[in-house]
């Protein structure tokens, strides 16, 4: 059996810094899509309890240690970095399907809002918020945590998303430098 080397979606790219903005890859250990079966929501809630999580309301996420649950659609959420076995939901393992990008810094919302057409300022999108929204033409999951933003895009679009965010950071930083 040959030994295969697993590569992350953005392997080979080093974190990028422009001004006070920094971009790096986030590697999730696992991403499980949870879709509760009709009438099984309570059973699913019970199954999530030991993880310190509950099924999230639309446009929200919750964190418990390294585990996270993110709303991703009607009757659908992503459970990140935690295992789960329950007959109450359709569970699909999407761990290798997504790339994670972390954008941090005081101007992160301003930079990301050049690509994502929703209000990401902390007044409208505080930590604990999550949205399905386009990043330019890429469907994305946008999350805000205490530490900054994380964006998930389909793995096949990892480098496009990286390039576009990095270029935008450069422009925002350049404009800041002129002030």
């Amino acid at each position: 059996m040959p030994e295969l080397i697993a590569k992350t979606p953005l392997s080979g790219l080093w974190p990028v810094t422009h001004g006070a903005l920094s971009l790096s890859e986030v590697v999730y250990d696992s991403i499980l899509s949870l879709a509760p079966f009709a009438g099984q929501e309570k059973v699913l809630t019970k199954a999530l309890k030991p993880l310190g999580l509950a099924f999230p309301a639309p446009n929200t996420l919750a964190v418990s240690g390294v585990a996270r649950i993110v709303w991703t659609g009607r009757d659908q959420a992503f459970l990140i970095n935690a295992p789960l076995a329950t007959p109450s939901a359709a569970i699909t393992d999407q761990s290798d399907g997504w790339a994670g990008l972390r954008l941090e810094g005081p101007m992160a919302a301003e930079a990301l809002m050049r690509l994502v057409p929703i209000d990401l300022r902390s007044s409208a999108f505080p930590p604990g918020s999550a949205a399905r929204a386009p990043l330019n033409h890429m469907n994305a999951v946008v999350m805000r945590l205490e530490s900054g933003f994380e964006v998930m895009v389909f793995r096949s679009m990892a480098r496009s998303a990286w390039t576009e965010i990095a270029e935008t950071m450069q422009r925002v930083a350049a404009r800041q430098a002129l002030r």
Partner: protein, 97 residues
């Protein structure tokens, strides 16, 4: 133009895919007369006034939405999820192993 998705909130038009009048939600019975099928598949009103049409939140939550829109004033008076409007789905079939 913006649509307020019942799940995602107010969103830009570019996030949606337009599908046309909501006649597609009213599928005739399999044994309905050909005229009913003709109406369902091909015939559409073109009202000056209120119209209810279908939009897909493609770059957002992935839900079909029924949008009430006035073709004269461009007012959008309601945006509803199509899914909960349908009769309750049959109990999901599961493999209990």
């Amino acid at each position: 133009m913006r649509l307020t998705c019942p799940l995602c909130g107010p969103r830009d038009r570019r996030e949606f895919y337009y599908y046309g009048a909501d006649d597609y939600l009213h599928r005739p019975a399999p044994d309905a007369p050909p005229a009913a099928w003709d109406d369902y598949l091909h015939n559409r009103d073109n009202p000056a006034g209120m119209l209810r049409d279908l939009w897909y939140h493609e770059a957002g939550c992935g839900q079909w939405l029924a949008v009430s829109r006035n073709t004269v004033s461009h007012d959008i008076t309601a945006v509803e999820c199509v899914a909960p409007l349908r009769p309750a789905r049959k109990k999901a079939v599961r493999n209990e192993d």
